[in-house]
Symmetry: C2
Subunit: 431 residues, 2 copies
């Protein structure tokens, strides 16, 4: 049902490595298809986009008008929600906005004794494209999490693309687009939508950056247009790592493992705990609760293929293993999570204490749920306002500063054999 390991078994590191293994490298056949789609959309614009959409999404569009959702339709979708949903979506959006406002960076500068000024100017991106998957993985929370940081950064326009397979759109997604302040919506998807956003068509504006999750075609297309536009990280399957001291209700831990596993068959749920007896209790809870779950088929495969209950020697070793894994979601289900925090080096988000289950953070605590997966927390960060702002260095050298800096620059430029660099600096030396 789920792999059980102990950190002291001789083949532990090998077993762990094989559990964690996830090759992000894209399939060659997919890459070729995607390259063709991008080339066609670059060449034929809207008409290629319409053809692909009719073909892949089973719709019957004759013009881009048929693939456009006007803004009033978003408001209508929101207004049509029941009161509870409307309130939940609004509370979540407000909390996400509040948290992300703390991430906003500001222009700074300082002036040296000789009046030379140095600094950094912060500006928002102009145009951002937001990819929202259609079908089963169409999550309104994902719209909030991708769009709100961009709005907080003061991005001018936010273009959402969302495929509507067989013409079916998700009212919660449209409602979320409404309260996030999306500026335009097109019902296109796949590599063709990414190509349209990256290069622009007559109807779809060219954007500066594309964010949002998608299937392998979308991910491969994002990788291909990287450089032409900015992109967020290319996400692998979602994962949770729970460190528990053995004193949380085992049903809670089992359900937290399920909440990751229910995403899809590749999702990963791992528990680290020094208490073998508690691990057995969690296993019993898993067996007991699994039959009650709507998505038990998915959960079962995910737990069997990629899940694990791991007995560690102590809590310190659990932290060491967590740093090795660099999990997307790290739950510290312990009495005093603060004392563990200093030693945690790599994690997308850290859920602290028995009452902080991951799903609170997924929806409404405030921090972003777009997080680095597959160990990429070693070098990357949650999606944030900083992904929608950029920096320009400011350098204003005074007449006096040019004397001192000019001499230094000239020596270094000459050392690199760059005479024009040196001469350009020397011109500014006045004595």
């Amino acid at each position: 049902m789920i792999t059980k390991l102990t950190s002291t078994q001789s083949d532990f590191q090998e077993k762990l490595a094989s559990l964690l293994a996830w090759d992000n490298v894209s399939n060659k056949e997919v890459a070729q298809t995607v390259d063709d789609i991008i080339a066609n959309v670059r060449n034929s614009g809207d008409s290629a986009l319409i053809d692909y959409t009719n073909k892949f999404d089973g719709v019957n569009a004759s013009s881009m008008k048929d693939l456009t959702i006007k803004l009033p339709a978003l408001k209508q979708a929101f207004d049509a929600l029941n009161k509870k949903q409307k309130s939940a979506l609004t509370i979540a959006a407000d909390r996400i906005r509040l948290y992300h406002e703390k991430q906003k960076q500001s222009t700074w500068n300082y002036t040296e004794d000789d009046s030379t000024m140095l600094g950094q100017k912060i500006t928002p991106l102009d145009h951002v494209g937001l990819y929202v998957p259609g079908g089963k993985a169409a999550y309104p929370s994902s719209v909030l999490m991708n769009a709100i940081p961009a709005k907080v950064a003061d991005v001018e326009s936010l273009i959402m693309v969302v495929p509507t397979p067989n013409g079916i759109s998700n009212p919660l997604v449209l409602a979320a687009a409404y309260i996030s302040g999306i500026t335009q919506v097109f019902t296109v998807g796949g590599a063709q939508a990414i190509a349209a956003l990256a290069y622009g068509t007559k109807t779809i504006p060219k954007v500066d950056k594309i964010v949002g999750p998608g299937n392998i075609y979308v991910a491969t297309a994002k990788r291909a247009v990287f450089g032409q536009v900015g992109i967020d990280m290319i996400a692998g399957p979602s994962e949770i790592l729970i460190i528990c001291d053995g004193k949380t209700n085992p049903d809670w831990i089992a359900m937290d493992l399920f909440s990751q596993a229910e995403h899809d068959e590749d999702a990963q749920s791992i528990l680290l705990c020094p208490d073998s007896n508690f691990i057995n209790q969690v296993e019993i809870s898993i067996k007991k609760l699994l039959p009650t779950m709507d998505r038990q088929a998915i959960i079962k495969i995910a737990l069997k293929e990629r899940g694990a209950l791991i007995q560690t020697q102590d809590m310190n070793e659990a932290i060491t293993l967590s740093n090795q894994i660099a999990p997307e979601h790290l739950e510290l289900s312990v009495e005093d999570p603060q004392i563990l925090l200093d030693n945690i080096k790599h994690a997308g988000a850290i859920f602290m204490g028995r009452h902080t289950c991951e799903s609170l953070g997924d929806y409404c605590a405030g921090p972003n749920h777009v997080l680095p997966t597959s160990g990429t927390a070693r070098f990357s960060s949650p999606l944030g306002v900083y992904d929608f702002q950029k920096k320009s260095s400011l350098i204003m050298v005074s007449r006096q500063g040019a004397n001192t800096l000019g001499k230094v620059a000239a020596i270094l430029a000459d050392g690199e054999g760059l005479q024009a660099h040196a001469q350009s600096a020397k011109y500014r030396i006045s004595h």
Copy 2:
């Protein structure tokens, strides 16, 4: 010699687009070679690395020991510099360090009324790989600019790779590595060095991120390993855009254009100025000064193929065009650059005032010289300390907070059909 355009000519936008055109898309043949090299280094580690290095760099290494430079050799290289060079390198390093210290981010958090704590923990990357090109483009300043921000971020280890074609190493590069605090140096390069850093070999440690410039093989390899490790931007040719009011010494402007053009034949130098008479004077200065330049052959091709002197209607239009171009380096050669600054939206670095030539910033003003090229300043930033720090979200929901947030999360999770997410939240609701 250099293209002259006026913004009012009917084909101006077309001409400008063709000047700016730069396709970053990688060559298929190169991509295949790079894929093979990466696969071989992943499979055979050091031995593949030694074979490729012997073959491509014309050396005769029999073990990785022959491809390792020990730290004392870096200090020796620094000690052997002349006094002026030692001082210039030290001043530059100190100024770069001082500026970058202002970029360092800190952990923050806030506590809500119900004792729920939210925040963001900042940690440095553990291991960073720094690629330094060998041969003609081996720039010590590039070592400072890539390494110092990583050191300021408190990166634990900084692994430098630098090919030594025919066994020749550059003492200035080694000296720069010394004062930057590089922790290990290997004399390997190309796609094989990138593969070794991304996947690790017996001798070369696996890193978390790879930064630094390189040729098309290096750039293609970086793109291929992106996701396995972090990478910095993939740089196109370097460019300068100068906005001048027509009152700077035209020789200065000509030399500033040269200082970009001398990098390589693809480098781009553009002047925007409303004064046609001044543009003619700059053209005369170019003709006069070009024969005095060591690298006149390169400058001549770069100016002819990709350079331009553009007459604008006024300074406002110059700013508008600059925002459209989103230059890597923007020089505001005017009396009062501050009044233009507010309207500048996209630029890697802004050099303000007649005394601030780009080369001061290239070497020693303090800000980074690794900047977004080819219009990518629309969505990306100079290399900085933030590239070597990462963020983890902190979420510690109180018992009371779990009541309110749990209800919101459960409604949204149910709306997305994620029952385990909902149940996990519901468990935490205590009344």
